[in-house]
Symmetry: C2
Subunit: 320 residues, 2 copies
């Protein structure tokens, strides 16, 4: 929850000159997103989200993120649609920061999801993968194998502060994943961060996907593995195989997995668990006490990682 940059109506009206967005009636900072500053604008025509990109987002990646949202929305995926400026650009500058106007998407994220929601999610994810197929900008996944090694190099020496034995366990895990990581699975644009707070529902119906600021090119099945971690563990740490089955069935109802993807799923889930473990561990070790950000427990993802290590085949995720 954050508004990092405050804006005033004079600067905002000036910024809006470049858009055909109507007359500004109100704007309010909203307490969502931890990477950027977000405002809800009302004009006499429609509500809009104004996003100011703070330093954790690389401006060079904005054509990918914003272009992808436009590409997906044009293909019927319900996601935020950037409003182009009169000169065609998808973002401008406000208060010295890159800033974009984006359509307001109705819906709420589920604090308590059920299997039926996971089924909806799986189908929406597969539709997104298919719609992203012909998007022509590429962005490497900075948080795949190479990124994990970099993060681990910065954290390994202090890992045993968090739990004794961690340094050896994760070093071994990383070596195994480097050795066995797949090389020939179907690739494409993935969301890479499809946690519950990035999926909106109205009632039980999925109304949209948001926050494409980790999207990149990678194995499509890796995106599904991220959702297995983000959606299918209960608060007590138990893996809910009913949700996992619904998620995968929903996905396959739109895009069937091939044999190699199915075989790789447990390994992809280990990698995905390691990825979130490593970023959380790094933040845990480097975020000062008393900072405004809520630190997330890395050990949650260590438990998920250990679970997937025990999985012998994708059948244990409910695949029939």
């Amino acid at each position: 929850m954050a508004v990092y940059t405050d804006i005033n109506e004079v600067e905002l009206k000036d910024f809006l000159q470049a858009y055909d967005a109507g007359t500004l009636l109100s704007f309010k900072g909203i307490a969502e997103g931890v990477e950027n500053s977000n405002f809800l604008l009302h004009t006499d025509r429609f509500p809009l989200i104004l996003t100011l990109y703070e330093k954790r987002v690389d401006e060079n990646d904005l054509p990918f993120y914003l272009g992808l949202m436009q590409h997906l929305a044009e293909r019927g995926i319900s996601c935020p649609l950037p409003l182009p400026r009169s000169d065609g650009a998808l973002y401008g500058e406000l208060c010295g920061r890159p800033a974009a106007l984006i359509s307001f998407l109705e819906g709420m994220w589920l604090r308590k999801s059920e299997a039926k929601h996971c089924r909806e999610l799986g189908a929406a994810l597969a539709r997104m993968h298919i719609a992203g197929h012909d998007f022509d900008i590429r962005r490497e996944n900075a948080l795949s194998l190479k990124g994990w090694v970099d993060l681990w190099d910065k954290s390994a020496a202090r890992a045993d502060e968090v739990q004794p034995g961690l340094e050896n366990e994760i070093t071994d895990e990383l070596a195994l994943l480097e050795d066995r990581w797949p090389v020939d699975l179907p690739e494409g644009v993935i969301h890479a961060d499809l946690f519950p707070d990035n999926v909106f529902f109205i009632g039980d119906e999925l109304s949209g996907l948001i926050d494409f600021y980790f999207a990149c090119n990678d194995f499509l099945a890796y995106d599904l593995a991220i959702c297995l971690n983000a959606w299918c563990f209960e608060k007590d740490g138990a893996f809910n195989v009913t949700k996992a089955r619904a998620l995968i069935e929903g996905y396959q109802s739109v895009r069937p997995l091939n044999a190699a993807e199915i075989e790789a799923l447990p390994l992809l889930a280990r990698g995905s668990a390691l990825r979130f473990f490593l970023t959380r561990l790094y933040d845990w070790l480097t975020t000062p006490e008393g900072a405004l950000v809520v630190k997330k427990d890395p050990l949650e993802y260590l438990r998920y990682l250990r679970f997937h290590r025990s999985v012998k085949s994708a059948g244990e995720y409910g695949l029939s």
Copy 2:
């Protein structure tokens, strides 16, 4: 800026059962207000503000605050209108806190106001005073003379930490105000906190007054004196007499001040400056370092107080 209480869609839908507000489509925490938690809701019928009252607001005062907004809105004052529940109550309970649904008011507060805005403000303030005349709930001003003495008792011993000589200066000031404070000026419901961030404009037109959570019964001219302090000093500390004249002329175009009010204006302005000095001083001395709240400088209001002390008559505020 704050959202103190997080809510989820299950609790919120349950809360909305008691209202005829349509189907919930989205809700977002907004970064406004320092006393309460505020959310912007969209239903299929209209946008709404949901306010959860945190502990600094006394639940016993809610019938006054919410009833006043309803009373004023019914008399044509543009202010947030509480949506009554089906049982007629103006607030319910959500997450263990009193909570109200209030109409969304379009408009933006001015970061840079001009004399013409002060004129609009003066007229709106006078209209509010007249509309509040027959409101039948009373609330004493907890931050008048008696409240100032209480605050000063808690801060006096440490005041010289902020500026040497303050203890003597404020003790003398308080004694003088206790001695000379008016007793027979026209009274009524005052807003008591009409700073720029509580006054919305669309373009140059005043679109509404918000945040009635300091409203109370007191001298009407005291409300005008609060606005003199809140609107008519420039960032460098200079008193802008053009703004003051416009503010008072705007007020008198709707409700002319009587001779006693005009004579009392410099003293009321001293009292008002002291009131904000004392609350800021208390917060300054008691808010822990590193707290989320931005501490406001009490010395700003000491300078205002000293200015008003030098004023011989209301003519110096631009009154003709």
